[in-house]
Structure formats: structure tokens, C-alpha cells
């Protein structure tokens, strides 16, 4: 009899789990409850999901995910004055577009995200707000063991700023070692 009860308990548990799972897509990720109940992987950085942000940024460079910098950094970067001289280029946007881009970047910044890599970036930038992603201590440390010849000395990479040159899944927000392919250095891990 007790075996029957155990099996019934198991099925009840599975049924409850299936009902819960079916409701999960509706749960927003960027809250503790959302994160807790979400079974989708959130170990990386949330991919860009705003059309204007994607198109305006990727006109000139890889559209860095907002989760790669904290809110303070985005506020320093995305304002009328800063965009007039955006690392040497004029990247001015009309008021409406700028407002939307800033809103999206701030709402999804590293310190507001529950994605693991963003949380690590947020912890690493508590004391300062770098305007360059390559200036984030956590990111610098993650790349410190890679020989200079593979990045600066590599004509197909040149700088840490070009994330997508080596991180083949960067556009999806995935920056783990399994998805790295350094141009000209296929055996970079050796």
C-alpha cells in the first residue's frame, strides 16, 4: 500500500512540476522570483531584445548587451554630449531614439540583471563605472592569461573590444570558453 502512495506522490509532484513549467515563459526574468522560477539558463548575459538598440548600435559596432555594464556606465555613455564624441566618432541620435536606447540599456544593465555574468560584472563595478567594457575588472581578469599576440597582435582581433571576433555566440550573450574561437589560433587553450 505504501508503495502505491509513493508512486502517487511522485506523479503528483511531476504533475505539479509540469503545471509550473507551463507557466514559466510568462514569468519575467529580471526579478528574484522570476529568476528563481525560471528554468531557462541565465548564466550568461541577456541577449539584446530591442530593435532600435540593436540597429543603432550595430550600425557601427557589435551591439554590446546592456548587461555588460552597470547603469552608471550607460548613463555616462548614452547622453547627447557623450555621443557627440563616442570614442572618437559622432554617434548622435535623435531625442526619441536616444530616450528609447537609454531606457533599454538602463533597464537591462548589469546591476539590474539576474543573469550570472551580469551579476559578476555588477559586483566588479560597484566602486567605479567604466565607460569601456574592456575596462571592467572582471572582464580584464577573465582575459589576463591570453597572450597579447592573440588579441592586440592578432590582425583579425586587435582589441578586447571586438568581443564577437572570438566569442562566436556573443550575439546570443554567450561568452563562455566553450564557444571561443580565436582567429588564427584554433588551439588557443593549449
Amino acid at each position: 500500500m505504501s508503495t502505491i502512495f509513493k508512486v502517487a506522490r511522485l506523479f503528483a509532484g511531476l504533475l505539479a512540476g509540469m503545471i509550473l513549467l507551463s507557466a514559466l515563459p510568462a514569468i519575467a526574468e529580471e526579478s528574484f522570483t522570476g529568476w528563481l522560477l525560471n528554468i531557462e539558463r541565465t548564466k550568461e548575459v541577456k541577449p539584446v531584445a530591442n530593435e532600435h538598440y540593436q540597429s543603432e548600435c550595430s550600425d557601427c559596432h557589435f551591439a554590446y548587451q546592456p548587461g555588460l555594464l552597470p547603469e552608471a556606465s550607460w548613463r555616462k555613455l548614452l547622453n547627447v554630449d557623450a555621443l557627440r564624441d563616442h570614442f572618437g566618432d559622432n554617434a548622435e541620435l535623435d531625442d526619441e531614439t536616444l530616450a528609447e536606447v537609454v531606457k533599454y540599456a538602463v533597464e537591462n544593465s548589469a546591476d539590474k540583471s539576474w543573469h550570472k555574468r551580469s551579476r559578476k560584472i555588477a559586483r566588479s563595478t560597484k566602486e567605479n563605472a567604466p565607460t569601456r567594457i574592456s575596462g571592467v575588472h572582471y572582464i580584464k581578469r577573465a582575459h589576463q592569461d591570453i597572450p597579447e599576440k592573440m588579441i592586440k597582435g592578432n590582425n583579425d582581433v586587435k582589441s578586447l573590444s571586438y568581443c564577437d571576433k572570438c566569442h562566436t555566440q556573443a550575439i546570443k550573450g554567450v561568452f563562455d570558453a566553450d564557444t571561443v574561437l580565436i582567429p588564427n589560433y584554433p588551439d588557443w587553450e593549449d
Binding site: 550570472k116 555566440q169 566553450d178 584554433p186
Partner: protein, 209 residues
């Protein structure tokens, strides 16, 4: 008892084989079996080396119709992350540990659980015991593979609340609790220890999922 020992040995051999495959796949030098990436590298290296030569680059400026990079991009297969890596093995072993803890809990004989015959009761206990041991072995293997593949994600300077640091601490605590449960079974405290171990392992997984 002999049967349990055989199951444990078999489980250990499977884990060793899995670890060996994962490690081999990552470290195999100059394999004759070409992966998509190595084919790409072999085909494109000469072009890339040519591109590094300044005069070749200048020469290309006069041929705007089809550049070397255009032809290169058509040859480059899409990079596919390895299906089986140390990181993946660690992930699956962690999930298997939690599943085994769940199965161990389900098969736990109740205090008043007397089977229809003494042999039925003993079989239930035997299954519970085997699953418990397998969970503990899997937990130990998970911690070992995690230290092996993710050692550079662990930095004490990042503090106690860093997700990776918490993951390591909870994972190790979970494995120790499970081993304690196995070593103290069938004592009174072992279910609590085992469940604590499973919960710690589950939280550790969630933190870095």
C-alpha cells in the same frame, strides 16, 4: 551486498570513462579527425597570413569585386560549440546527482514499511542504499570535475556572495553532506544529512544555471 559492490564499481567505471572522454576531447593534440574548426583553420590560414602582408592588402584594394575576406567568409563553417566538454560533463553530473538524491528519497523505506515478505523489504532497502551511494559518488565526481574545468572562475577576492564562490561552497558542502549520510546510514540523522546535501547541490546549480 556483492551486487551493490558491483553496481558501485560499474558506476565508477562509467564516470571514469566519461571523464576520460571529456578530457580527451579537449586535450587531444593534432587529431587526424578534422573538426569543422580545424578544417576552417587549415583552409583559411594561408589567406589570413596573406592578409597580414601589407603589400597583399594594398593589392586587394584594386580588386573590389571579390575580396579575400569575402571568399574566406563563404568557406568558414559556422562554429559549433563542442557537444561534450568538461563543462558539459560537470553540468550533467550535477543534474544527475540531484536526480539520484530525489530517487534515493523516494525509495527510502518507511519506519513501519514491512514488505509482504522479508525479501521485499530487504530489496527496497538495497535499492535505497545503492542509489544513496551512487548519489554520493556522483556528487564527489561533480565537485572534482567542477574544480578541474572551472577552477579559474573561483576567486576568493570576489567575496562570499559571488555566485561562482557560492556555487563552489554549496556544491562541496552538498557532496560532504551526502557522503556523511551514506557513512552514517541507517542511523537516525542520515536522511536529514542526505536531503541537506541534495538541497545544497540544487541551490548551487541554480545559482550558476
Amino acid at each position: 551486498m556483492k551486487r551493490n559492490a558491483m553496481i558501485n564499481i560499474f558506476a565508477s567505471m562509467c564516470l571514469l570513462a566519461l571523464s576520460g572522454i571529456a578530457n580527451g576531447a579537449e586535450t587531444l593534440p593534432d587529431s587526424d579527425i578534422l573538426s569543422g574548426t580545424s578544417i576552417y583553420t587549415q583552409q583559411s590560414r594561408s589567406y589570413i597570413l596573406a592578409l597580414n602582408e601589407k603589400n597583399v592588402v594594398f593589392a586587394q584594394a584594386d580588386t573590389p569585386s571579390t575580396t579575400v575576406m569575402d571568399s574566406l567568409s563563404t568557406q568558414q563553417p559556422e562554429f559549433e560549440p563542442p557537444f561534450f566538454s568538461g563543462s558539459n560533463a560537470h553540468k550533467y553530473m550535477g543534474l544527475a546527482t540531484v536526480a539520484l538524491v530525489g530517487l534515493t528519497a523516494i525509495t527510502a523505506p518507511d519506519d513501519d514499511d514491512e514488505g509482504p515478505t522479508p525479501s521485499t523489504t530487504s530489496r527496497t532497502q538495497g535499492t535505497h542504499q545503492s542509489l544513496g551511494r551512487a548519489a554520493a559518488v556522483m556528487a564527489a565526481a561533480t565537485v572534482t570535475s567542477g574544480l578541474w574545468t572551472h577552477w579559474d572562475d573561483f576567486h576568493i577576492e570576489d567575496g562570499f556572495a559571488d555566485p561562482d564562490n557560492l556555487h563552489v561552497m554549496l556544491g562541496a558542502l552538498g557532496a560532504l553532506a551526502m557522503m556523511n549520510a551514506v557513512s552514517t546510514a541507517p542511523g537516525d540523522g542520515h536522511p536529514g544529512s542526505g536531503m541537506l546535501g541534495g538541497a545544497a547541490m540544487a541551490v548551487a546549480i541554480k545559482l550558476t544555471w
